[in-house]
């Protein structure tokens, strides 16, 4: 059967077997009643068929309805509690950036290592996936970890898992995305920590995401306005990640990954208070991969602090 290779998997299996048990009992009850009544009271049989007392019919009915309602509420509560623990992403999670493109997965480790349709991760370390798509809706589905999250164009979606057992597991695209939807698959390779350390040693010299982002920050001309010595008035980006920004039309917005992504691609949407919407859009100039590098650079400690 399906291996349970993540911390979430056993909890999902418990819920599944609880539901299978309950449903099996109800189906058996209904089928047994139908077959039993049909045969016992078949036409022409001599079974006793007196009149049913009125109160019996009504009380049995109300009793059954209340029972089913209680079971439904209990199942909702049980499922909801399982789910809420999945919503909080552990703080120390290892961040992997995923870019889905029509019919391939591009994954980038924090230390700059890039992979296509494969993801090497250490066992026992929570991994946070920050995902976006370059074209249509895809869906990051790893059956063995029981996780699935749609990957939307123009937006970051997140999910996380913590592998508990080394091995290679299927990575599948679960949202229909065109001709080769069924070929958009890959593998998650869960390795013991020592092997993972040795594997990630062999990074080529492109440097970490933040270093690549710094070079890109210069090349795309961001320093022209956002540099410290820039003449054009633009908000300073030093340590901007996570700060609450006052907006022009009143209200505040936290400068999270989504806000930074939108400000690069659609700068007119939410302009910081006191500034004019003069920034050109980088739609089509900076690809999703480049935006990930820029954001990684701005999240690094001395991000944005450049002449």
């Amino acid at each position: 059967m399906l291996p349970d290779a993540s911390t979430l998997a056993p909890r999902i299996d418990h819920l599944l077997w609880l539901l299978i048990g309950l449903s099996g009992a109800i189906v058996l009850l209904v089928v047994a009643l139908i077959i039993g009544f049909s045969i016992k009271y078949r036409r022409g049989s001599t079974a006793k068929r007196g009149q049913l007392p009125g109160w019996l019919a009504r009380d049995v009915e109300i009793g059954w309805t209340a029972a089913i309602f209680f079971v439904a509420i209990f199942l909702f509560w049980f499922a909801a509690t399982t789910e809420t623990s999945q919503y909080e992403v552990p703080k120390d999670a290892m961040e992997v950036h995923v870019v889905a493109k029509q019919w391939m997965w591009k994954l980038e480790h924090p230390n700059g290592r890039r992979e296509i349709n494969a993801l090497h991760i250490p066992v026992g370390v929570p991994v946070r996936l920050v995902m976006t798509s370059q074209d249509v809706i895809h869906s990051f589905f790893v059956p063995a970890f029981r996780i699935k999250q749609d990957v939307l164009p123009g937006r970051y979606t997140e999910t996380w898992f913590q592998a508990t057992r080394p091995g290679t597991y299927h990575l599948l695209c679960a949202e229909y995305c065109g001709t080769d939807h069924s070929q958009m698959t890959g593998g998650i390779v869960v390795m013991p920590r020592a092997d993972y350390a040795r594997w990630s040693e062999g990074t080529d010299d492109t440097g970490t995401l933040a270093q690549q982002g710094a070079r890109l920050f210069q090349r795309l001309g961001c320093t022209g306005c956002h540099g410290n010595s820039a003449r054009v008035r633009a908000p300073s980006l030093n340590g901007v990640y996570g700060r609450m920004q006052p907006m022009n039309d009143g209200g505040f917005r936290r400068a999270d990954e989504q806000y930074l992504h939108d400000s690069i691609v659609r700068p007119q949407k939410d302009v910081v208070a006191g500034y004019q919407p003069v920034m050109p859009s980088y739609q089509g100039i900076a690809s999703e991969g480049d935006i990930i590098l820029l954001i990684a650079y701005l999240k690094s400690p001395d991000g944005g602090d450049v002449q």
Partner: protein, 209 residues
């Protein structure tokens, strides 16, 4: 008085048929209400997420064209109401005049709309490569503008066709006998007017600061 209402098949007495036509038309208008609710949801979502840029886009709309058109359609709707009541009271000349008034005002509305469309196209306000403002929420406002005004124009054209058909029927048969048809057309045109009344602030007053 009610004996001379034209009866259709399953109904025995005209009062029952009157309620049936009115109830059937209102049920259809409920579906139209949900139909437009879909595109209003798009407007609400685009305006909520669009923020300032959306309102800049809305600022480009032609305020005076919109206000004039709203007044025209309201007057037409009133004319149709008078026509329907006159048909019920069998006042033939008033019914005929008011139907012609409705047709004329409806065509005037479409004409004013045509002029506005030409002005908008001239100012590159159709979403696309040469869109006047920066692409993004402003372009979304104009996507809503073109889509909803086109759908509304189609609905108004259907209403005017129904009015023309009433005028054609008027020459052959007494509209008093076919009052339920007049009532159905009147309800439909009133609904087209209601949609425009709801659209007017969203399209023309959103951008005004």
């Amino acid at each position: 008085m009610s004996s001379d209402i034209a009866l259709h098949d399953p109904f025995e007495e005209p009062a029952r048929q009157q309620v049936a036509v009115s109830f059937g038309m209102w049920s259809f208008l409920a579906t139209e209400c949900l139909f437009f609710a879909g595109i209003f949801l798009f407007y609400a979502n685009a305006r909520w997420h669009g923020g300032e840029a959306f309102l800049n886009g809305a600022g480009e709309s032609a305020f005076w064209f919109g206000t004039a058109n709203t007044a025209i359609l309201m007057t037409g709707s009133m004319a149709m109401a008078i026509a329907e009541r006159a048909a019920k009271a069998d006042i033939v000349r008033l019914t005929r005049w008011m139907l012609w008034a409705m047709l004329a005002l409806g065509l005037l509305f479409l004409a004013v709309k045509g002029v506005e469309y030409r002005k908008d196209l001239h100012e590159h306000l159709f979403p696309g490569p040469d869109f006047k403002l920066d692409s993004g929420p402003a372009e979304q406002f104009w996507a809503f503008y073109w889509a909803v005004t086109a759908v509304h124009a189609v609905h108004l054209t259907i209403g005017l066709a129904a009015t023309a058909r009433l005028l054609w029927m008027d020459r052959h048969v007494s509209l008093h006998r076919h009052h339920s048809t007049v009532m159905a057309s009147a309800l439909y045109l009133h609904f087209v007017d209601i949609v425009w009344i709801a659209l007017y602030p969203l399209l023309y007053l959103a951008g005004r600061q």
